[in-house]
Amino acid sequence: MAVTFTLNGQQRRYSGDPRTSLMDALRRDFRLTGTKDVCGEGFCGACLVHIDGVPKVSCLLPIGAVEGADVTTIEGVGDLGTLNPVQQAFEDFDVVQCGMCFPGMVMTLSHFLQDNPRPSRDEVKSALVGNICRCTGYERIIDAVMSLHNSAEGRK
């Protein structure tokens, strides 16, 4: 049984052991190393991808489970050459330090902001409970997310 699924908009096929974690398959077989291998236990959020539009930890998901699913990684979250609004806000606020946690942060926040376009700081922090950062202290990340309110207002 090869596992067939959509990966960043393209139909892909994986013929290895279907018990392999999606994270390992993405990094090793599909060469998409934006999804990070950090805790391996679902706590840190660095391996988050979107499965059918919803953020899930790829380190604990066997690739066999994504048969027929739509998988989006950090490489596919924006259009080629264009950053999505969350990525752009992080760039504008110069918040990235080592970079290990940020793909996961983008995956969490891109989804969260779809349903919560005007969150409070506390709501953003709750959304980021499963994304651990050892570098930044988080506040500038929250500043960047909160700036998206104003961008939305400016675009009206």
Binding site: A2, G16, R19, G42, P55, E67, A127, V129, G130, I132
Partner: protein, 287 residues
């Protein structure tokens, strides 16, 4: 790796009978996968084939009746928290499902997995189900049994060989329930101790039914029978936390890297206070 080999490694049955056949052949049942996929971190073998339960529609269903809530084993924490939020007597279940782990794990981890994960000492849903007197339905190739969850937990090791947990039934009884947990950070971690409480009072606010379950302190969650006995017949305003402080000998707490044994006991009275405060708030909302 050729296709014939990989077919045998990851089975995707669409009904319970086929899943049981696979399990009888040695395949490991996989719900959300959040426990099974950490086997190597625990030093457990991960060589067996997986039988994914996700294609069995009946296991994803939640059914609400006037006096019950029936939950399929593959229902995620997230879905359960959302479904049960308007059922005040099941507040413990909503809170346990809604606070556990982190958002991404809650979208994947299932109620069945939470109950069946052998060696998982810090489940949140399990104490809530104990306090709410839940039963579980287990299918094997020859029979189907309904068992109180406390009994199922005791026999969990044998049950794994015997069948598949398919449904959890939670009676809806008059009363209020709450779940409280102590963590090292504010959120996003396993609890070092948790408590679920169910209380029903009479018209004079005297406690006529009380069930209190404690998790993460010992290797398995259990009911706090001595505290229940002390509270029965008392006014709800009685200081339950104070009573709890005198009844900590009921527990043999575990010592581990995240918290020492004495600390797990130390936080219990505070958790009792929190759970009772939550029940007080719920009662006021009803009034």
């Amino acid at each position: 790796m050729d296709s014939a080999n990989t077919d045998a490694l990851f089975l995707r049955p669409t009904d319970i009978k086929a899943a049981l056949v696979a399990m009888d052949g040695g395949a490991v049942p996989v719900a959300g996968g959040t426990w099974v996929m950490r086997a190597s971190l625990r030093g457990d073998s991960n060589d067996q084939a997986f039988v994914s339960l996700s294609q069995i529609d009946a296991l994803h269903e939640v059914a609400e009746g006037e006096d019950f809530l029936r939950i399929g084993a593959l229902v995620t924490h997230d879905h359960l928290a959302d479904f049960a939020r308007n059922l005040p007597e099941l507040g413990a279940l909503t809170q346990a499902a809604g606070m556990s782990a982190n958002p991404a794990i809650r979208r994947t981890a299932t109620i069945g997995g939470n109950i069946c994960a052998r060696g998982f000492t810090a489940a949140d849903l399990v104490p809530a189900l104990l306090a709410l007197n839940a039963t579980v339905e287990v299918h094997s190739s020859s029979r189907q049994d309904t068992t109180p969850i406390a009994e199922y937990l005791q026999a969990r090791t044998q049950r794994r060989a015997a069948g598949l947990l398919t449904t959890i039934s939670v009676p809806r009884k008059r009363g209020h329930s709450a779940h409280a947990r102590a963590l090292l950070r504010k959120a996003g971690e396993y609890p070092i101790a948790n408590i679920s409480a169910f209380i029903d009072m009479d018209a004079n606010n005297t406690i006529k039914t009380v069930r209190i379950a404690v998790g993460a302190v010992e290797a398995m969650p259990k009911r706090w029978h001595s505290l229940e006995k002390a509270l029965l017949g008392q006014p709800f305003s009685a200081d339950a936390a104070d009573m709890a402080r005198d009844l900590l000998d009921d527990f043999t707490p575990r010592d581990s890297v995240d918290a020492p044994d004495w600390y797990r006991l130390r936080v219990l009275p505070g958790l009792v206070r929190q759970a009772f405060a939550s029940i007080t708030d719920q009662s006021r909302e009803d009034a």
